[in-house]
Subunit: 133 residues, 2 copies
C-alpha cells in the first residue's frame, strides 16, 4: 500500500528552497527572493491585483509589501507542510508577516514547485486572508 | 534537458478528479464533492474561518456556500493549469461562482493532490479574493 509518504530527500530539497526565499524576504533582498522562481510565475497575492503573471509583475508585489513594512521584517511560517514527489511539490502554510509581532498580519500561503533541469523552481504562490463581509 | 512537462496521463487523471468535483458542486451533491478528498484536507476558504481542517469542517464550508447561492449554481474555471507528476499534483485556476453570471464572484483557486493507494486525492484547497483596503 502506498500511503503517500514524501521521500525525505525531496522534502528537504523543497524546504531548502522555501527557507532561502524566506531569508531573502527578511533581509529585503529582491534578487534573493527571485532566485528560484520561474519566468512564468503566477502569483495570487493578499492585496490586489487579482493575479500577477511573470517575474516583473511578481517583483512589483514585493515593492508594495516593503513600502508598508518597517524593519525588522517579520515573515515566518506558524505551521508548514510540504508534499513532494521527485518532480512536483506543493507547500501549505499559515504565516505571520509585518513589521512586528504585535502589528503582524496572519495569512495563508500555498506554493507550487516543479523540478526543471534538476532544480526546484517556484511556479506558483497564493497568499491570502479570509474575506471580510 | 528536463523542461518539466506533465505526462498527459497524469494530467488527464487529475483533470478528471477536478471535473468530478466541479460537477458535484453544481448539482449541490455534498457526497460527490467529498468523494476524492483526504480525511486530513486543509481548506483555506474565501470567507472565514482562517482555515478548516478535516472532512467535517470542509463539509461545513459548503453548507455556508449553498446558504447564500441560488440555482442554477455557477462554479467554473475561467482559466486552469495543472502541474502533475506520477504522485503529486497541483492545480492553479481563476474561477467564477455565484448564482448567476451577472452577480458572480471572481476568485482564485489552488488545489493540492497526492496519489494515495493509486487514487488521486485532494488534500488541500485554497480559495480567495484579494483583500480590500
Amino acid at each position: 500500500m502506498d500511503h503517500g509518504q514524501n521521500s525525505s530527500e525531496d522534502e528537504a530539497a523543497v524546504r531548502a528552497v522555501v527557507e532561502t526565499w524566506l531569508a531573502a524576504i527578511r533581509r529585503r533582498d529582491i534578487e534573493g527572493i527571485l532566485q528560484n522562481h520561474s519566468p512564468d510565475i503566477v502569483m495570487f497575492d493578499v492585496p490586489p491585483p487579482f493575479q500577477s503573471r511573470g517575474l516583473e509583475a511578481y517583483r512589483t508585489t514585493w515593492d508594495l509589501f516593503y513600502s508598508s513594512t518597517s524593519d525588522p521584517v517579520l515573515f515566518k511560517p506558524t505551521e508548514m507542510s510540504i508534499t513532494a514527489s521527485a518532480n512536483v511539490a506543493f507547500v501549505v502554510a499559515t504565516m505571520r508577516c509585518g513589521g512586528s509581532e504585535a502589528s503582524g498580519l496572519d495569512f495563508r500561503l500555498t506554493m507550487g514547485l516543479r523540478k526543471i533541469d534538476d532544480r526546484w523552481t517556484i511556479i506558483h504562490e497564493h497568499h491570502s486572508v479570509p474575506a471580510v463581509d
